[in-house]
Structures are given as structure tokens and as C-alpha cells.
Symmetry: C2
Subunit: 458 residues, 2 copies
Amino acid sequence: MPATSFSCSFLSLQPRFNSYVNPIFRSLTFQLSSSPFPFNAPFSSIRIRCSLSRPAETNSTTGGRSGALTPGPSVGGDVQKIDVNPPKGTRDFPPEDMRLRNWLFNHFKEVSWLYGFEEVDYPVLESEALFTRKAGEEIKDQLYCFEDRGNRRVALRPELTPSLARLVIQKGKSVSLPIKWFTVGQCWRYERMTRGRRREHYQWNMDIIGVPGVMAEAELISSVVTLFKRIGITESDVGFKVSSRKVLQEVLNCYSVPEYLFGKVCVIIDKIEKIPVDEIKKELKAVGLSQEAVQKLLQVLSVKSLAELEERLGSSGEALADLKQLFSLAEKTGFSKWLQFDASVVRGLAYYTGIVFELLKEKGLLPELNLHIDNIVCALDEDLQGCAAMVANILREKGHSVELVLESKPLKWVFKRAARVNAERLVLVGNSEWQRGVVGVKILSTAEQYEVKLEDLK
Amino acid sequence: MPATSFSCSFLSLQPRFNSYVNPIFRSLTFQLSSSPFPFNAPFSSIRIRCSLSRPAETNSTTGGRSGALTPGPSVGGDVQKIDVNPPKGTRDFPPEDMRLRNWLFNHFKEVSWLYGFEEVDYPVLESEALFTRKAGEEIKDQLYCFEDRGNRRVALRPELTPSLARLVIQKGKSVSLPIKWFTVGQCWRYERMTRGRRREHYQWNMDIIGVPGVMAEAELISSVVTLFKRIGITESDVGFKVSSRKVLQEVLNCYSVPEYLFGKVCVIIDKIEKIPVDEIKKELKAVGLSQEAVQKLLQVLSVKSLAELEERLGSSGEALADLKQLFSLAEKTGFSKWLQFDASVVRGLAYYTGIVFELLKEKGLLPELNLHIDNIVCALDEDLQGCAAMVANILREKGHSVELVLESKPLKWVFKRAARVNAERLVLVGNSEWQRGVVGVKILSTAEQYEVKLEDLK
């Protein structure tokens, strides 16, 4: 099955440096990987994980639970306390943060659209079995799972891929290949919280099912490069370290290591930057690799160029052909500067938790996203509130957003509110003007003032 | 506290008829209500609940679990079964359903924007205590709650308002009034499933905090009317039955019924269409109302016009003044045809579960939302795939969506794919054309064909 075996190839994205700081998006984790998939079709996938942290948390590892218990005001004799903090590891999105979230997610969605992906979604809650079917994985320890009231074992999804698999299998032959789906969804991990790691986060997943060649991988990398360019990240900020699992496979085949050991070897190799190399050697021997195979494997994994890889593996293997094709496609489509070959990039079968990329606040990559409402409409007399509401609706029907002043307020208050919502125009509904069928309009940036007939409002 | 007391007034939206059927949005529940709120500020709120059901469910009460267990294909010797269905009471959104969901939610968001509301969001998971602090409510039985791995009692939110309250209290004086926030969020109820009622659904909440008058209510009704108009629902399809809690309050004051009984009376009155009137009478007497008060109360609640209400309550009360103002505002802003006075509309303190409005499929209110990708780009030769990717990226940079054919496929397949994604243009990258710096373009609707220079592609 060359298709399925290619679906085990890996691309892993890694920033060239980790730098701090930005107050809202405290960390973005980018994951690019093709993971084993429970159906016989080639599968390419890219994930971008974003934890959207709040400024208050930059000096804390507790997930922003800085608020105190505040007594809830009395309601009908029912005096009780309300915890003003969201549960540990979760967060609110007040308007200022929601604007940033929408900004980022809209980029995800627009890029997905440009690349012809269709949006899908799955339940936040899935059967626990969906995530634990792959035995022996660390995800089990991090699963946000529980028993529901009907005694079913369920879990808040830790990632989106198993749900994708479930839905694709369910649809069966009714979907035409290739499938190109994307999701921006919330995921949960019950884990110790550290800076930038909450128990919930969002992932942008783009998945291609049914394309055996590296074109699919190239398309996915290209889409992330497009995202980076749109939000102002350059190839000097971040790069993709790329390898293929076939590199590992070829070395193992060379020493007749049985195929069922492949997964175990991956898990060990994945730890290469986390534990001493002697430890790695010991573990590889423990699963049954010969001294020679271990030696050769570690040599190959240290290779940092395709030329050197060719020297060591020969020019006939699939690994080299795939990687060469990927780099050539990258050259043509203009993202080769973002790519770097690194044979040591091997993702374990377990869920990927490494790499964090933190946007530089100093680069000014975050847009200024202020509230902006086109018009503020105000009655100068309480009796004219209905007329003001009418004016507001005329403007809304023409596609303008309107903040209608809902109470009798002094003009000073109205100007302050107009400034807060960054209104362009103030529309005043006064008695004598109304009699003449006009309203007063003030352009707030220039202080220009004039009257407009109701029917000419636009 | 006139402000807080007004925050207990009620508007309840009710369709004039319940009609069936539409395959995707099988039910939309609209809720308009001002509920008691745990802070001393006037609070107006409107909720639209939508359960987006799938065609398969129209003949079933089991929530669409019609799929069977399908064996997961073998992956590396790990043969296991995967349940292809989402957990009971939840659902997937495959692309065709996601388009409809996006269509509806975008209307929610655009209308909210037109009315100057800011978007916010809260965690899906909240402390159980947040929802159970109001004692004795049915919501407790329906709470999707559990103990997390840190032994905290948590719940998947059954509604959005308690989270709103939590955040507003947390923000305290840092937010300027009025607050106008909206959320489109997923909510959960652990309840028996019936047609159109799943364990998860979405709510569009619009909340105004800090405006004591009925202008806030008028603004909220107006926004929902705007939504209805946009999606093609008219006042002959649906109407708002409107009353004010003050009607009830005034009757109770009249008979010196103590204020703490108000909540209990509301809960009883709320059942008026569900249980026999004798039962209602018995329950009202049981909480301590006199025979006379019960009589008068039931008389007043049967009133269907403001004129009659004035006869019975006199013209001096706040209830009448508020209702008159609301109807007058509705007249001015053009939604009076959608309103109908009905004194019996009293919402209990418990969460609202009544009224379901089902869009008529026959009215053709659902848009045809097909997948649509602007261009399909295809290399005529495997060696030109990189060039095709380059062409795709040129078009994407100009803002067009592109389906790039990622494998060598016969032209027949490409045309079929183009039809499936409803592409406008087919761009073919051939060898001799590429040498001349051009690509072939075919307009798929007219079959018109021509060559375009790469630099002229747009």
C-alpha cells in the first residue's frame, strides 16, 4: 500500500527561533503533520494551534484566575456568591479579545477558501473511545474525559482528526475524492497549565484525503505561508523543518527491522531533542535494533541537506524522490525560502506537543482593532425617541451600523459615547428639524455639520 | 429600584402558528425575555435558539444515530472498530450543513453589527455553581454536568446569560454603560431527545445592560424583525406576543400580596397553557393568594388588548405606560404588525422551553448554498504540476479561490470535479503554452476558450 505508507510521512513545522512577547496571542503553535489515519486513503493534514492568552496572564501560570470572589447583588432575597472567573484553564473573550480572535480566524477561513477547502465541524464532545483507540499514547493522560449522566464515557475533543476520520468513514463512498476540508475548532487537554498552554485552545485544521503525492503537502505548506504573509510573518521569523518518515523506513528496511517496530522507533526518535542521545540508543536497542542499525539511524537523522541524504541513502529511494519533489514545488510556488530539510524531524505517533512560536509584539504584527460603529443616532427630546429609532433603521437598511442612544442623555454623554464607539457620524433628531423633515448630521472627524432630508439619508 | 424591577418585565415571542417542515433547520426557537439578573442594572435580552437538525432525523427521535458500526480499516496491525456516529444528542456539520449554518450565523452577526452590538464569547465549560445558584429550577435536572479530573463540579453551559453576568461583574466599572453584547454560542441540555431537540444547540443572544426604558426592548425586537426580513420570514409567519411582568405585579400589589411571592406566582402562571385552569387556581391559593386575587389575576391575564387592560388596571400604572410606549415605538419603526399584546405571556423564572417555530420548507426560505470555487487549475503533464501550483497562487493572490488538481488526472475527471465545485473557469497548464508564457482558460458556463499571458491572469 504505497498510499497508506505515504500517509505516514511527516512534515513538521518549526520556528527558527522562539521569541517573546505579545499580550493577547501569547503563543501560536504550528503543527504540520501527516499522521496515520484509520482508512485506506492517503491523508495530508496541517494544524495550527492557537492559545489566545490575555495580558493578565503574562506573569502568571495559573491561567488568568486573578479575579476575586465578588458577592452577587441581591435578587429577590437570593443572595449568593458568584465566582467571577471562568473555570481553571478556560477563558472569556470580552469584546476587545473577540475582535482579535475574529481577525485571526477570518484569516484562517479566507486562506482555506482561497485554497478551495470546505468548512466542516464536529461535536466538541465525542466518545472517549474515539480518542483512546490508538493504544499507548500520551493523549490518554491528557484527555478531558468524564462519564455523562447516561453512564457513557465521553471526552471533550483533544484534537479534530479522529472526528474527521469518523465522519469520512460514515460518509463512505458518498463523498468524492479528494476531500479537502477545514475546521477552526476548540480543543481540550486536561494538562498542567504553563505559560501559553491552557486546557482549551483552538486549532485550524486543513485536511486533504485521497491524494497520494507530495502535491498535497506542498499545497498545505503553501496555504500556511499564505496565512503568514497575510498577517505579516516572514521567512526570517519562521521556517518549516521538513523530513519524511520514509527516511526512517528506508534505514529500518536496510537492516531488516520488522515493520511493526516502526511506530515504536518513531516514538523514541521523537524524543531526540528531549533526552540524552545515549538514552535514545539504549531505548532503540531495547526494542530490538542492532548496534549497527542504531548507529546508521542516528547518522542519517543528523543529516541537514538533501545532497548529504542522497550520499547516505543512495538516489533510488522514495524518501529522496518525495523530498526532492517537495523542494522543487516549493521553488516553483515561491515558498522554498521557508523550507529547511532536517532528517531528525520525526513525529511520534502520539499527539504532537512541541514547538511554540510566539509572535513579536515589537514587530507590530497585531492590528489595532477598535470597536467601530458607523453612526450614532440620538433624539434631542424624549418624545422623539421613536423618530430616532426610525432614523436608525433607515440607516441600517442602507447597510450602516448604528448605535442608537436608548435613553435621554446630555449631549456631552453622547459625544463621549460616539468617541468610544469610534463613530463617523452623529445624527441628531431635533423637534424643529423633524417638523421640516430633516435631521442634523455631524461628521465627527471634521466637526462639519449639516442638515439632511430623511429621504436623502444614506 | 425601578430599574431592577423593570428588568423583570417580560416579552415573549411566539409564532402565530407552528408549521412544519424543513430538512436542515428543523426547528428554530425564538426566545425574547428579560430575566432577573444578578446585578443592579437594567437588563434586556433576546435569545434565538436554533437546533440545526439533519434530514435523517425527521422521522426519528433518536437524534440521527442511524449509522452502523463500521470496522475501521487496518492501520499497522491495529484493527479496531470505530463508532461512526457522534455521541447521542450531538451532530456533525458536513460541508453542505456547514454552509447553511454559516449562512444563518452570518445573518445573526450582520444584524448584531447593524445594531451596534459587540461580539463576546465565554467558555463552553463553566462551574456548575454558576447555573445552580438560582435555587429550585428545572435547569438543574437538565444540566450537562460532571466532575472533572481535578474534582471540580463543572457543566457544559445550558445557556449564555450566567456567563454574561459573570463577565460583566468581573469587568465591574471598567465597562461603560450601556453594554451591548452579542454571542452566537453552543449550549447543552441533558434532556430526553425529541424531534428538533438535541442535547446541544446554538443560541444567538443579544443583551443590553444599563438601559431602564422600553427603548432597549424595542431595539431588540427590531433587530429580530430585521433578521426575519433578511431571511424572508414575514409577519404572517411569525409574531411577538408581548406583555410586561408589571401587569402581574400591579394586580398582586392591589391585593397586598407580598413581593417575595412574585416569583412563585410567575412559575404557576407560566403553566397556564399546560395544565387546567382549576389546577392553576388551586396552586395560586396554595401559595397564599385570596380567592378574590386569584379571580382578578386570571381575568387580567385573559386580556388581549391594551384598551381592555386600561379598563381593568386604570391608566396610571407603569405596566400600561411601558406597553403603550413599546407599541408606539413599534409603530414608528415599522414593526407593529409583528406585535400582539397578550397579558397571559408570563415567563417563569426557570429557563424557557416552550415555543418552537419551524420554517416552512414550502416557502423556499432556505437558500441554495452550493460549494463554489472560482477556478480549477490543472497541469496537463505531471512535470507541470509545480507550474500549475504557481498559476494557482497567482490567482489566489488576486483574491480568487482555486481548486488545484493535485494529481495527474484525465481531463474527463477534471471536468467532473469542476462541475462538482461549481467552478467558473478551468485553467489548463500545458507544455507548449507554458513555453510561450501563456495558459489556457475555459469559461465553463459558455465553453468559451482562450489563452492568457501569465502576467495578464486576473
